[in-house]
């Protein structure tokens, strides 16, 4: 038997008729036998009778033959599909390999799209879908105290008396726990500052976590007067306490007291995130103020309880408390949110923006590949026509073409996965700067599945239109004409390129907005000069510092010693440094301006030592700075900022007025300029400064200005100065420059801007490739016409302009659509970008100009080629 060529299998399209074949075969046998007998001299009738008799049970034989063949055909059918697929794949691979450059370009387009979307998916997957690492993760909620119904996610703090009332009155939770984030001084050898939390004893039961070694806190251990105990994280134990073994029961000096280590917690269960030491939150309910909100509250939902039902329950509790304590609770309401919001909340806008951006990239990539495939279609029209002519059905050819697209998508998708793996952490940093350690943005099975699915969808998106278009051709005309009619005018292709241009423009506009916002953030007036300023934190814990006078003395002395370091211009201390050092707010009464009931004035305030304003170069607008004479025995004094002064003393007669910001009435002795105390994007708010010596807090931040050069070179001198004052319990922590702090506070915006710019650049490059391919296609198709024009006397410039005009038209259509879509995107972006509104004409103009320029640049090559067409060659072709 001859080798059966592969295309013969396509004839199986009609299938075979088994019973018919068997009958034919048996009838042939009888006929041959009859012929044989007749040849031997029998009459035809006798011959037929004898032949039939000789054959025996013809019916039985027929049935068993049919049976055998049918059983076989069924199992064959199952492998048939596999064989067909394998053939298609081999063929597709051959086609793709033959056209190296277009394949690489197309696969790159897919890779960029799949890479970007997969990276985004893995981030979204981690943040939104993957369960929290705590055993009770799916039932954990946070309860915040929200003022005036202004819902904002993340940590909104509550007071200890509120916590006790909530516990007593709610019905939605099995447990309610609270944490108070704090840094502790650990004196085991060199004193160090460690991030930790004071927590209610039931915190670990609420999370559902146990100890790795030892135990978690027991019920009464957070009662006032209970024995001093502590829990540490595994990492901390290993790094600082010499390992986990034999740690339990050891007594270590933490936060000024000797405490017994009772347990070690695995790092992944650390809560609050980043904590390494836990102490019991031993608060005396009788001495805690209801208005003093500094606890983060989490709770475990009762089984079957929904967030909505829990909110309802807590709202009724909140209403009761508001009635009972109108002064403190009149305007706040408890709000229940999934604990996940805690980790995700702030990142959500970035997640959405970048998710949308990556989807756009994928779409641009798909449109580009579709356009490229269409351009290639011309050269393939003949091949397809041949295949159709020898009997391949349309479905079969579309299948073959889609297989090619799928293979392309798979290759691109695999490369994209590599990109996603490399890019995921960069993107994640833009969205979630302070991601907890368990938020590892892995490419897990789900992300892998997503990449696969996205690739396949992409293959269908960019493969289907060209495939359908190609198979709609008339094979006879194509084979005859040689020069086919696959959409000679490239309309469909033009559509894809216009789509690309429009989508790229959306990304360009988005990137423009992000960059504009970043520029505005950078030029925000800070109200102080961060140049050559370092800052560090000092916390005073332990018996020695129980005395306020000692705290005041040590801070003043450290300030003097640091200021005396050669090369240091000045140094001072404050409770919270500017920018992201937010904030302590104080209930404030202004003498002569009583606040309406339930609407108490809360003002951000700092305790500073003399020289603070000079060191940060905050202008003193009127009055005087603090001096060393403003100590505990002197009359209480306060300095306020410009906004405070203008808002409450519009007439300008500020100095000498009395305000009480806690601790009694104090006289206003000066007005200073506004500074960015919290986020750069916040508008100036009233703010006050009190003399540190009159209210010496235990934790202060020093600011140090150098005369020149790198201010961090004083790090050693600063630590030495602190050690000289107290060798045991005065650790210097968080030493950095003020500029670093400012940069960190806008890092999210910076990375977001960069990423959007990178995405826009990618889209622009893709669109450029699309325009180039389309214009090349046009020029090739119109070589004859162009040659004719030139033969008739058209100047090369005219031809050049003809091509460029066509590219310009494409860019214009895409531009109009893109600008409209871009305006919509801008409206979404402006909600969370600082300082920009959707109406920023310069951004639109700049984006559109960039796009049109690149479209014209991309078509310059083809246009030049068109203008150098040799009329004689062009006319002789074909």
């Amino acid at each position: 038997m001859k080798y059966q060529p592969a295309w013969r299998r396509y004839l199986r399209f009609w299938g075979k008729n088994i019973p018919q074949d068997v009958d034919d075969e048996l009838r042939f046998h009888i006929e041959m036998r009859v012929n044989e007998y007749v040849a031997r001299g029998m009459t035809p009738d006798d011959a037929r009778r004898l032949a039939t008799q000789r054959f025996g049970d013809a019916g039985g034989a027929r049935d068993s033959c049919v049976n055998i063949q049918k059983t076989h055909a069924r199992s064959e059918g199952r492998t048939e599909f596999g064989v067909m697929l394998a053939q298609d794949l081999t063929f597709a691979a051959r086609v793709l390999r033959r056209q190296t450059l277009p394949t690489i370009v197309a696969a790159t387009c897919v890779a960029l799209g799949i890479g970007a979307t997969t990276a985004m998916f893995s981030i979204g997957n981690t943040m939104l879908l993957r369960p929290l690492p705590y055993p009770n993760g799916d039932r954990l909620v946070s309860i915040g105290s929200v003022r005036d119904g202004a819902r904002n996610s993340g940590a909104t703090v509550s007071s200890f008396p509120d916590l006790l009332d909530w516990r007593a009155r709610q019905r939605a939770f099995t447990r309610i726990a609270a944490t108070y984030r704090a840094d502790f001084t650990v004196a085991s050898g060199q004193p160090i500052r460690v991030t930790g939390a004071a927590v209610t004893a039931n915190l670990f039961a609420t999370l559902g976590t146990g100890a790795e070694v030892g135990r978690v806190f027991q019920d009464a251990e957070d009662a006032p007067g209970a024995p001093a105990v502590a829990i540490v994280s595994h990492g901390f134990a290993v790094r600082h306490l010499g390992g986990v073994e034999s740690l339990i029961g050891q007594r270590i000096r933490i936060a000024g007291a000797r405490r017994t280590i009772v347990g070690v917690i695995p790092d992944r269960w650390a809560y609050p995130v980043g904590a390494e030491i836990w102490l019991p939150l031993a608060r005396d309910p009788l001495r805690s103020s209801r208005g003093d909100r500094n606890l983060e509250v989490i709770a475990e939902l009762r089984a079957g309880m929904t967030i909505a039902a829990a909110n309802q329950d807590m709202t009724s509790v909140g209403v009761q408390l508001g009635r009972e304590y109108p002064r403190e609770n009149g305007t706040t309401m408890p709000v229940v949110e999934p604990l996940r919001e805690h980790f995700v909340g702030a990142a959500r806008p970035g997640l959405i923006a970048l998710g949308a951006a990556t989807l756009l990239i994928l779409l641009v990539g798909c449109a580009n590949v579709a356009a490229l495939q269409l351009a290639r279609a011309t050269s393939r029209a003949r091949e397809i026509a041949v295949r159709a002519a020898i009997g391949a059905g349309r479905a079969r050819i579309v299948g073959q073409l889609l297989t090619e697209s799928a293979l392309l998508a798979l290759v691109g998708g695999a490369a994209g996965l590599g990109l996603a793996y490399a890019a995921r952490n960069v993107i994640a940093r833009a969205i979630a700067q302070n991601a907890p350690p368990w938020m590892t943005f892995d490419i897990d099975l789900r992300a892998l599945g997503f990449a696969m699915l996205a690739s396949m969808l992409a293959a269908i998106v960019f493969g289907l239109a060209p495939a359908l278009r190609l198979t709609r051709l008339d094979p006879v005309a194509t084979l005859h004409g040689g020069h086919s009619s696959v959409d000679d005018r490239g309309r469909l292709q033009g559509f894809f390129v216009v789509l690309e241009i429009a989508l790229s423009l959306v990304l360009l506009v988005g990137a423009g907005f992000a960059i504009q916002s970043l520029l505005r953030l950078r030029s925000v007036p800070l109200g102080f000069d961060p140049e050559r300023v370092a800052m560090f934190r000092v916390a005073m814990q332990g018996q020695r510092y129980d005395s306020p006078a000692e705290r005041a003395r040590v801070v003043a002395a450290l300030g003097e010693r640091v200021a005396a370091i050669p090369g240091v211009e000045s140094a001072a201390a404050t409770t919270y440094a500017p920018v992201a050092g937010c904030c302590s707010q104080f209930g404030t009464n202004i003498a002569g301006q009583p606040a309406p009931p339930g609407k108490g004035l809360m003002v951000t305030g700092n305790m500073v030592i003399p020289g603070f304003f000079r060191t940060l170069q905050i202008p003193l607008i009127s009055g005087r700075d603090f001096t060393n004479a403003d100590d505990a025995n002197a009359p209480r004094v306060v300095i306020i900022n410009e906004t405070f002064a203008k808002r409450y003393w519009p007439a300008g007669d500020v100095l000498g007025h009395l305000i009480d910001t806690g601790g009694g009435m104090a006289a206003i002795i000066g007005i200073v300029g506004d500074i960015k105390q919290g986020r750069l994007i916040d508008a100036p708010e009233p703010q006050f400064y009190r003399a540190y010596a009159q209210d010496p807090w235990a934790t202060v931040t020093f600011v140090v200005r150098a005369r020149g050069g790198n201010v961090l070179r004083f790090a050693g001198d600063i630590r030495q100065a602190a050690r000289d004052l107290d060798p045991i319990a005065l650790p210097v922590s968080r030493l950095s420059t003020l500029q670093e702090r400012i940069d960190t506070s806008i890092a999210t915006n910076r990375v977001l801007g960069r990423l959007l710019a990178a995405f826009a650049a990618m889209a622009l490059a893709l669109a450029g490739i699309g325009v180039y391919a389309l214009m090349s296609f046009f020029v090739t198709r119109r070589t004859r016409e162009l040659g004719l024009r030139m033969a008739l006397g058209a100047a090369p410039q005219r031809v050049l302009i003809l091509v460029l005009r066509q590219a310009g038209a494409l860019a214009a259509v895409g531009g109009v659509v893109g600008l409209a879509a871009g305006a919509l995107a801008a409206r979404g972006l402006s909600h969370f970008l600082y300082g920009v509104s959707a109406a920023e004409p310069t951004i639109y103009v700049a984006a559109a100009a960039t796009l049109v320029t690149s479209a014209l640049l991309a078509s310059a090559g083809p246009a030049r080629r068109a203008s150098t067409v040799d009329p004689m060659v062009a006319l002789r072709a074909e």
């Binding site: 038997m1 074949d21 068997v22 034919d24 075969e25 048996l26 042939f28 046998h29 006929e31 041959m32 036998r33 012929n35 044989e36 000789r54 054959f55 025996g56 049970d57 013809a58 039985g60 034989a61 027929r62 068993s64 033959c65 055998i68 063949q69 059983t71 076989h72």
Partner: protein
């Protein structure tokens, strides 16, 4: 003519078919005729079981089938021995020969003293 037992025939039929098609593409009738002629009409195979046997061998992949035209210009199904079938033929032929020699040897053996 001896009446061969059906059992023997069925086991042998596959072997005879493989041998018949080993000479070149053959249709079912050709197979039957070849067996008759090669055995000088000693073995007359039951035609009713010839065709199921052919189809079984085809499905097993020992012989391949293709529709073609016969000498008298009729559409007929031709069978050819596949590579797999040739190997099978070799094995079965050897087995059969050893079996037959053993039976002969037994039949020719001198009488044993009791």
């Amino acid at each position: 003519m001896a009446e061969p037992s059906v059992e023997v025939l069925r086991g042998t039929l596959d072997l005879l078919i493989l041998k018949a098609v080993s000479w070149g593409p053959t249709h079912g009738y050709g197979v039957a005729r070849w067996i008759e002629q090669a055995t000088s009409d000693v073995l007359q195979i039951e035609e009713g079981s010839l065709y199921p046997a052919l189809h079984r061998l085809e499905v097993r992949g020992w012989i391949a089938a293709e529709w073609g035209t016969s000498d008298n210009n009729r559409r007929a199904k031709f069978y050819t021995l596949t590579v797999k079938g040739r190997a099978q033929l070799r094995v079965e032929a050897a087995t059969w020969t050893r079996f037959a020699q053993a039976v002969f040897a037994a039949l020719e053996a001198p009488p044993q003293p009791a």
